[in-house]
Amino acid sequence: MPQGVMVIAEQRDGEIRKVSYEVVSEGKRLADKLGQKVIAVLLGQNIKAKAATLGHYGADKIVVADDAKLASYTPDAYASVIAQVVKANDPAILLLGASVQGKDLAARLSARLGVGMAQDCTAFSIDNGRLNAVRPIYAGKAYAKVTFSDNYPHIATARPNVMPTNPPDASKAAETADAGVALDDSALKTKVADVIRDAAGKVDLTEADKIVSGGRGMKGPEGFKVLEDLAAVMGASVGASRSAVDAGWRSHTDQVGQTGKVVSPNLYVACGISGAIQHLAGMSTSKVVVAINKDPEAPIFQKADYGVVDDLFKVVPALTEEVKKMA
């Protein structure tokens, strides 16, 4: 009988990513409801020492696969290792963060293990002993509550920065073990030819705590200077709507929305953005939304916690000054 919650943690350059602590915490909440345990799995190279923190957030056992071939993510190697760890432990539920890597791995594992997989979930529950998940569909125009067939484990990925982390308890020492799995060279056809790092100091939008975003109302690339000034004093990242990206004012990597990135920051400030449904799809789970737009009819105001109907080129610099005063 499949038992327990397994969480695949994610590391980048040897550091465990924040979303992994969120997923371990949520995994612990689900395991407690089932009266079962949490096993966290970490893959990488030279990561054994860091793995212990997974126990502080709720893992009862930690399985580490430490190998040079796992230093950088490849779908082949990671899926192969995890499939073996799953087979050895027979969990009922398998959770990952809905990071780029997590979503990719979950998709491959779903097919490898022949089980259902719910992607980018915003809530989990246990109904009749079975995992249920809630996730946005049609770019968040609707939400689906889903459950799983009798094929185990039930796989799901959790949207980053939505589920709370448990307060870490450094006194909790989880049992740690080596994954002890074989990495079959003949099955590993993919190599990592290169890793191109983003500009130093640039925080990926999906990891940003605060985002200041600009749309068509910015009127051109120069308009984004006022947003960058605000972002600098707030410790925020700068995003863009599709209009601004398609106009060539900002890079596609800055795009928030249905065909851009899905972000869930604590603060999202939308400047000169009308609030088309496709944009909302990318930021609707932000904790606090501010809209600054001179059009009082802009749909964004329906979704904002705070709205300022005025000229953003006057409001934003004034806001920057106010934030500076707070420092």
Binding site: R12, R17, Y73, P75, D76, V100, K103, D104, A107, R108, S110, A111, G116, Q119, P136, I137, Y138, A139, G140, K141, A142, Y143, A144, K145, V146, F148, S149, N151, K189, T190, K191, V192, A193, I196, R197, K202, V203, E207, K210, T253, Q255, L267, Q278, V288, V289, F301, A304, D305, Y306, G307, V308, D310, D311, K314, V315, V316, A318, E322, V323, M326
Partner: protein
């Protein structure tokens, strides 16, 4: 080079989504169906590789007869042949079953390269590409923004942006690549292209014709089941910040964000 591109149809992104009575599906009448936007990047990349290295591009879709329109669009862009897998028994299939059918249709063609969109903008799952690769026993690379074919056409490098960096993967063909926005700018079908497309071969296959068991498809075979579909959660009503000048509004906003929302 034999390149396959998998496509699907989705509701146009302007569509208002209505929940059907019963709350387990959406209303499908009055929907404008279009090729999934991410699939267009796959079609375009396949055509560019064909133009550079020679070969043919075959586009494959699974769904009702209307999917033929989107297959014809791909043919009008320059693809050579189309295959529609259409079967009432496949209606309501989950991503794994869909990928199984696609894999079966594709396997016999012995492709060098397979493209798909990184996810469908309907279900927003992103499973089919990876599942297709799994069933074909080959590597997959998802959400790819750049494809570099080796000059000998036997291997490929793919750029995959992750948080903070871009991974450059390399693998021998065949592989599955799922296309991300930014991979290329898809061409518009020209009028001559549209005319030529009408004469290009487009076969239709049922599940049985592919040697597949219909009972492994459809609603009843789903590994992920819909419990209910609801409108998005309502946000608590917000407030418009008052003030008699942009500066005074900014001051009030900063105060609210700091004291009330505790966001800064």
């Amino acid at each position: 080079m034999k390149i396959i591109v998998c496509i699907k149809q989705v509701p146009d992104t302007e569509t208002q989504i209505k929940i059907a009575p019963g709350g387990k599906s959406i209303v499908k009448d009055d929907i404008k169906w279009v090729m999934n936007p991410y699939d267009e990047y796959g079609v375009e990349e396949a055509l560019r590789i064909k133009e550079k290295l020679g070969g043919e591009v075959i586009v494959v879709g699974l769904g009702p007869k209307r999917v033929t329109e989107s297959l014809r669009t791909a043919l009008a862009m320059g693809a050579d042949k189309g295959i529609l897998i259409s079967d009432p028994a496949a209606e309501g299939s989950d991503a794994l079953a869909t990928a199984k059918a696609l894999a079966t249709a594709i396997k016999g063609l012995q492709p060098d390269l397979i493209f798909a969109g990184q996810r469908g903008v309907d279900e927003d799952m992103g499973i089919a590409g990876a599942a297709l690769a799994e069933y074909l026993g080959i590597p997959h690379f998802s959400v790819i923004t750049k494809v570099e074919m080796a000059p000998d056409g036997k291997s490929v490098k793919c750029h995959k942006p992750v948080e903070g960096q871009t991974l450059v993967f390399e693998a021998p063909l065949p592989v599955v690549i799922t296309a991300q926005k930014g991979l290329n700018e898809p061409r518009y079908a020209s009028l001559p292209g549209i005319m030529k497309a009408k004469k290009k071969p487009l076969e239709e296959k049922t599940l049985a014709a592919l040697g597949l068991n219909p009972s492994e498809f459809g609603e009843g075979a789903r590994k992920l089941k819909i419990v209910e579909i609801t409108p998005p959660p309502a946000r608590k009503a917000g407030k418009i910040v008052q003030g008699d000048s942009p500066e005074s509004k900014a001051k009030e906003l900063a105060k609210l964000l700091h004291e009330e929302a505790k966001a800064i």
